[in-house]
């Protein structure tokens, strides 16, 4: 079956523009995570959904960042009034359930590389 897909793969925005990044998780996966990966760094947690409920948004760096998953499947990460420091790869991951066993494995999409000029 298909893995996690993300679109667009690359996005160039002028400072101040709004952007929307899409994530299509693996069908049937309950959990969905967004991470931000700066160049040469490990990913950093942004937010977590269980089905359509956003249970944790503690990693969102500012109120310009907003995420939604209205039907418990596709998720969108929106960044308003983009700034240069928002330039990064945005990774989406999904997993079947939230447990400590193998079922917790997070499957990652290829990411969206955002460049803010």
């Amino acid at each position: 079956g298909a893995g996690v897909s993300q679109s667009p793969r690359y996005k160039v925005a002028k400072r101040g523009q709004d952007v929307a990044l899409r994530c299509d998780p693996i069908s049937g996966h309950v959990s969905l995570f967004w991470y931000q990966q700066a160049l040469g760094q490990g990913p950093e947690f942004l937010t977590y959904f269980q089905n359509e409920a956003q249970l944790d948004k503690s990693g969102l760096p500012s109120d310009r960042f907003f995420a939604e998953r209205p039907e418990g499947s596709v998720s969108t990460l929106k960044i308003q009034r983009t700034q240069q420091e928002d330039s990064a790869v945005y990774l989406c991951a999904s997993s079947l359930v939230v447990t400590s066993g193998r079922a917790n494995e997070q499957f990652f999409g290829p990411g969206t590389r955002l460049t803010v000029l």
């Binding site: 996690v4 959990s31 995570f33 991470y35 040469g40 760094q41 490990g42 990913p43 950093e44 947690f45 977590y48 269980q50 249970l55 944790d56 990693g59 990774l91 991951a93 997993s95 939230v98 447990t99 400590s100 193998r102 917790n104 494995e105 997070q106 499957f107 990652f108 999409g109 290829p110 990411g111």
Partner: protein
């Protein structure tokens, strides 16, 4: 306290050699320790994972060694191959955080033919 410290930043190993990457953590609530492999332009992919009730886990050429008292864990890649050249990340997570991953900074591994 939430950090995971990873070393070395980069590593060059001859083909057939053993690659060793180390990680340390502080938060004793962590109960899941995965290693991810990432190729350029791709998302991370799970390689192997361990829970703290086990001191070692082996899958093929990949082994995690876990030292709970020292709060350290390491990845060993036996018989390293050029196809193993990638960036490796250790991570940690725990149930109360819905298993969000806390990541190390990554190790760029190059296997020389």
């Amino acid at each position: 306290q939430q950090q995971v410290k990873q070393s070395p930043q980069s590593l060059i190993v001859q083909k057939g050699g053993i690659s060793i990457i180390n990680c340390a953590y502080e938060n004793t609530a962590f109960d899941y320790f995965p290693w991810y492999q990432q190729f350029p332009g791709k998302g991370p992919a799970l390689l192997i994972a361990i829970r703290p009730d086990v001191s070692e886990k082996k899958e093929g050429r990949f082994t995690i060694s876990f030292n709970k008292s020292a709060k350290q864990f390491s990845l060993h890649i036996m018989d390293s191959q050029p196809g193993d050249s990638a960036t490796y990340f250790c991570a940690a997570s725990w149930m109360d955080s819905n298993y969000q991953l806390i990541w190390g900074a990554g190790t760029k591994l190059i296997i020389k033919p």
